[in-house]
Amino acid sequence: MAGRLQSTKRLKEYMTAYYIDAKTAEGSNKKVGWITSGGPVEFLIAMDIIPVYPENHGAMVGATHQGGMLCEFAEKRGFSKDVCSYARSDIGGLLSDDPSKKGPVGGLPNPDMLICCNNICGTVMKWYETVSRYLDVPVYIIDTPVIHTGSIPEEVIDYVAAQFRGYIEFLEKVTKKHLDMDRLFEVSLIANENVTIWNKVLRKCANKPAPMTAFDAFTHMAPIVTLRGTQGVTDYYKALIEELDERTTQGIGAIDNEQYRLLWDNIPVWHKMRDLSTFFANHNAALVADTYTNAWASTNITTEGEKDILSAYAKAYTPIYLNIGIDKMIDVIKGLADIFGVDGLVLHSNHSCKPYSVGQYDIARRFHDETGKPSVIIEGDMTDERSWAQAQVTTRLEAFMEMLEADV
């Protein structure tokens, strides 16, 4: 087996430095803004505000098996088990009085402001409102209507762009600084470069054998999500690409004896990353692509043909993967299946993430009907390890592999 990517060590250093920056911001002249994963972070970068992602923290909570414990803090206060486990573990961490029980990195640095964009789900609005109330910090909510079919109507662009104007006013009020629009433009260009190079990283898995798997992508996605709009992201991915190319030149795959190439749908099961990655490797199957990390590979901010930069942002941030209709999602999945040459689809029906999980049975059926390839749905939760039935998942995945093996 090719083993862990060398870049992983640098990634750790990179992300640690970022967290240290964020954790030490309090008392300095730097402000911290909590932002949703699909939120337009470029505005924060342009104003020198440190962005912090509770969802990224949620992933760490899951990976370190602290989800159940933190969710219980929120559940004790009356939050339903059906509420998203990122929200529950985040709120749970805030409610915990014990500093050792606030999640990885000792909990997140306190925010000076909250920025919530509902292009990823509706839960974020109530979640951020709750945090705003608990911590007494201002929240700005950006509403992006779902784009069910076709292109984005002009009035939607105007509606979202108007909110971006409000967003700037909000940031200026909280920081008491002025946003330099030229700087925003510059950050936008860097963000585009970041997105383009992240796309290149992911496309490396179109090689056979794939030099990395989706499990690597789930780890290496941290910079594109959290530090988008900064030069470091491009530099980091350039080095990662070199490593992946080196593997491909030498004919080294992420797993030995790659026989099956699979596509993953939904947020990873963070608390089962190692088990799942071992399971697939043992079955000579590589997860060569996924809809999740690909969601950060296409949000290009282009002012060409737009009224202004804010309209360009509206156009980039509105039709993201979780804010489109199911027909379009199927198009994306079929497109990925084609680019990466996959043999089947693995769907994680994620108890926490309703917008991601609703429709998966239709997606699976249409994927099968339109490509002739099989799929399997496993049930779990991204962060809450209590929502997992190992024997059930094993049987489903093994039966799926038996289906693929019978095809050979």
């Binding site: 049930e379 929502s387 049987t395 038996e402 289906m403």
Partner: protein
């Protein structure tokens, strides 16, 4: 003789089939047995296999384990999931494009089989006991009968009663409250069976149901369940002889075809 064993270690019962399979001959079942899985399924499976070998007087050349306990059977040559084994078993008996619904002790599954006998799609119950044999066991116990007793009660029901909760624990309290209201046990039993049928039917409907439809697994030994399932999916259902043994049978066939 060339013997091949299929052992299906389920959550409730362990099933064994030993086949004599020779390229020139038909496959002959030399031994078949069902025993409760007990608290020590590994030992149960070992004992059952030994009993089978003793009865025939010869050891199988290959043993394939399936069912929830397949990975604990260290005496097996290989393993396969129940999905593949039930499909194999049914297709051997009825070689045609079809659908199989297997309701076992701990889970239920619906499987689409192609005209070549391949599994093309399957669905399983979600991580919950509703729609499984365990649900019926709990309800039978609340009614003071065993699972066959539940079937007998249901066959004599006069009225349809709806058990609305799909949660096993809540459905049990619903049953208890119906008992306390003096609702006839026969009607409650039918309500319980209709509830599991409706649950499994909605799961099965996620597949493109191709007829003929077969039922396998221990639960379909209850005639009332099969009738309720037929109503719920609006299709006739065929039940093979010894439906509980189909998984073990399919496992033995796969073992006999294994070239490795």
């Amino acid at each position: 003789m060339t013997l091949f064993a299929g052992i299906d270690i389920g959550s409730v019962a362990t099933k064994l089939i030993i086949l004599d399979s020779n390229p020139d001959k038909d496959k002959n079942i030399m031994y078949s047995q069902v025993v409760p899985s007990s608290h020590d399924p590994e030992q149960t499976a070992k004992d059952l296999l030994e009993k089978g070998i003793e009865a025939i007087g010869e050891e199988p050349v290959k043993i394939l384990a399936t069912g929830y306990g397949r990975h604990i059977a260290d005496f097996s040559t290989t393993t396969a999931t129940e999905i593949t084994c039930h499909a194999k078993g049914i297709f051997f008996l009825y070689p045609a494009k079809c659908t199989v619904i297997d309701i076992g002790g701990q889970d239920s599954k619906a499987i689409s089989i192609s005209k070549k006998g391949k599994v093309t799609d399957f669905v399983m119950n979600d991580k919950c006991a509703a729609g499984t044999g365990r649900f019926l066991e709990v309800m039978a116990s609340a009614l003071g009968v065993d699972p066959p007793g539940l079937n007998n009660l249901a066959l004599n029901a006069k009225n349809n009663i709806k058990i609305s909760s799909t949660c096993t624990v809540f459905a049990e309290s619903e049953v208890i409250s119906l008992i306390s209201k003096k609702t006839p046990k026969e009607d409650i039993a039918l309500g319980v069976i209709a509830s599991i049928a409706s649950r499994v039917a909605s799961m099965t409907s996620r597949l493109n149901i191709i007829e003929p439809v077969f039922m396998t697994g221990g639960v379909c030994q209850a005639a009332s369940v099969v009738t309720a399932m037929e109503d719920a999916i609006s299709r006739k259902i065929k039940v093979p002889k010894d439906p509980q043994l189909i998984g073990a049978f399919g496992a033995a066939i796969i073992a006999s075809e294994d070239k490795s």
